[in-house]
Symmetry: C2
Subunit: 405 residues, 2 copies
């Protein structure tokens, strides 16, 4: 028998065998679930790399859906929609951590790569699972316990001191699902918000931090990892408002400790792609607050400010390509989020902010303005962090409509 | 009569009057004619700025068409297709200079902004028109004349010396339509290539240049302009192969002269958007070779290497927004084009080039590989231009398939 097999003479090929026989001149397709600004900015990196990029968005006017050619509309909670979306993708990754593990397991059963995988992702989906894993690893965390009744909160508070932090273990983001409570009455009110919804709770020691930091790393399936400079973040109402890179006056010892912690967490939890470790810095010690397994608001400065952006390195990691240099391109970078205010027409601010500051970099996400909603960010690079911060705040305020000049 | 006018009581509104009355919370839409890599890279800048971006591409697999959500398919030579494309755009601009002036005039008649406008664009479409205009401005050019017969070429060569350069006045790009001829026989062969196609010719003095430079400026309709650092370009077979920014060892005097020349040309010809002025540098003098009124290959280094990329400043210019800072972010930047070779699967090179050089920035355009075709480029920033050039050449060669290690 020659190279040509008559029909029926050989067993049917599996999909994998077939795929390996097809000449593959096309670059791989990364499918990103979620159509938010993280997908939108990842799309820019995918365009530059010349890879295929597909987005599953809930609505046609989602930030990424407005710009990505290969956008599919559907819910990340709909197993069939996700499976249909993923078919033809070489790897699936995420704009958010809200895709149920069961759906991801189905993709894996069909032979589709999911990065990060569901067992890693669970640590970013379930705060109790995350705390248990980090505690087992010996990573410094606030004292914590799961709880369901106000009596448990009270006894935790009596042991570790008030106030305490109550967190819904699942579904929270941008400060939603997080309460700082000072007494039993506050705890009662917080727990009541989850009533009837089967919410599970975590109670945590309230760390009197001097500031918050974020340590970002990228990790590939084969285990290569790179650590970005550790940055300082400032939260307002639970939303990331400002990032200064690198974190001012952070000792080398603490910077290395934060990076090592993030690298270790990424390795031990099997993270693939970007990992952000949000940290409390008390001055003396660093405690892990949260994990995010995707590009993160604390890394937006890397678009202009690092040799390789977090979006490009996320793609390189999930494609198992060698990672790019995470180092900063300038002594300092500052990112300030643009929050929605009273002005619906963000574009109209360009005339002022661009004329005032020709170095300003602006990213608008195409979102409708709602008060307090993240609708964009500005970035500045330079030698003087205080100057950059003042200029970034002015520009962000101008977009919001808080105009003082 | 109150604010509300009953139907029929007032004259019909013009489209412009109507548009000014509609609440305008949506950002403007820039329409770019042509779906090549320049559109593709402009799309990345448009996404960041949060403006609308529409592309008219000839084929669904054109570089920009693969990635831009709002892609329309049609020919730039089809007046109806262009008009339909432009309707709903706030301003029309270009990936190439091949749209006939007649079609653009029709858009302007309909009240659609075209930037650069057809009378400016004509200088980039017709080399004889360009030479006449630059000569009238007193800008240094090679000696030149229009010609149609070989006798005219011969007498030009006898007067100015051989070899001479023969150029089709229209339709040439990347060295197509350009011949360096050393004698009457060569001139005869060159002119024969245009036979029966109504080609008009320009004959020019062959400048014995030491190197080629490019001076890029952005100019807005209200006349604001910024000048990028002057770069050195190296052409191979009429195609831009390498760019070094800034041009090594260029005297301040010559750098300023080149920038002033480009600013003056942009102003006097009424250019809006990016203008690239390609120059011959003889060591003593600078002569204008070509003009391009769009983002240009000699400015690809600005994506990572300048505070504001040429793509962003092109958009800001055509939208009449204040222009961004054109200064370099590093002492040196090097760009090397990736030309098609024997390897169809460009993606497969990533494993090698990224592992070898974590600082390497790669842009692949999504084009099918054909020998000699521009399919991407690499950029490196740093302190040592020779080192950057060696690394950039290695990476570009590896993509092409010229692998020596």
């Amino acid at each position: 028998m020659g190279a040509y097999s008559p029909i029926g003479s050989s067993p049917a090929l599996t999909l994998g065998q077939y795929a390996s026989m097809v000449p593959k001149d096309q670059p791989p397709v990364v499918g990103m679930i979620g159509g938010g600004q993280l997908s939108r900015m990842t799309a820019e990196a995918a365009t530059a790399l010349g890879i295929g990029f597909r987005v599953l968005a809930e609505r046609p006017d989602d930030p990424a859906a407005q710009v990505v050619r290969d956008t599919r509309i559907g819910s990340h909670l709909d197993a069939d929609a996700v499976l249909e979306f993923a078919t033809g993708c070489d790897v699936i990754t995420f704009d958010h951590e809200q895709v149920p593990a069961k759906i991801l397991e189905r993709l894996i059963e069909r032979g589709i790569s999911v990065r990060p995988g569901p067992s890693a992702l669970l640590h970013a989906q379930d705060k109790a699972h995350m705390r248990a894993a980090l505690t087992a690893l010996g990573v410094p965390c606030p004292a914590w316990s799961t709880c369901s009744r106000v009596e448990e909160v009270a006894s935790f508070g009596d042991e570790h001191g008030w106030p305490v932090v109550l967190k819904a273990t699942r579904g929270g983001y941008d400060g939603k699902g997080v309460w700082v409570v000072s007494d039993i009455a506050g705890a009662t009110r917080a727990l009541a918000t989850g009533q009837g919804r089967g919410t599970e709770w975590l109670v945590e020691e309230h760390i009197a931090f001097a500031r918050e930091l974020s340590a970002q790393v990228a990790r590939s399936p084969q285990g290569q990892a790179v650590a970005y400079p550790v940055v300082q973040t400032r939260q307002m109402n639970g939303i990331c408002a400002e990032v200064i890179a690198p974190a001012p006056s952070l000792s080398d010892e603490h910077a290395v400790r934060a990076q090592e912690m993030a690298l270790r967490i990424a390795g031990d939890l099997g993270v693939v792609g970007m990992l952000a470790v949000e940290l409390f810095d008390t001055g003396d010690e660093l405690f892990v607050n949260e994990l995010a397994m995707r590009p993160h608001n604390s890394g937006h400065w890397t678009i202009e400010g690092a040799v390789t952006s977090q979006f490009e390195n996320h793609l390189r990691a999930v494609l198992d390509l060698p990672l790019g240099d995470p180092r900063a391109r300038a002594p300092h970078a500052v990112m300030v989020n643009i929050l929605g205010g009273d002005v619906d027409d963000l574009y109209s601010a360009y005339r002022h902010v661009f004329a005032r500051d020709p170095e300003l970099k602006v990213h608008l996400y195409g979102k409708a303005v709602r008060p307090g909603r993240k609708v964009g960010h500005v970035t500045l690079l330079g030698d003087d962090a205080d100057d950059l911060l003042a200029r970034g705040r002015h520009a962000a305020d101008y977009f919001t409509g808080n105009i003082d000049e």
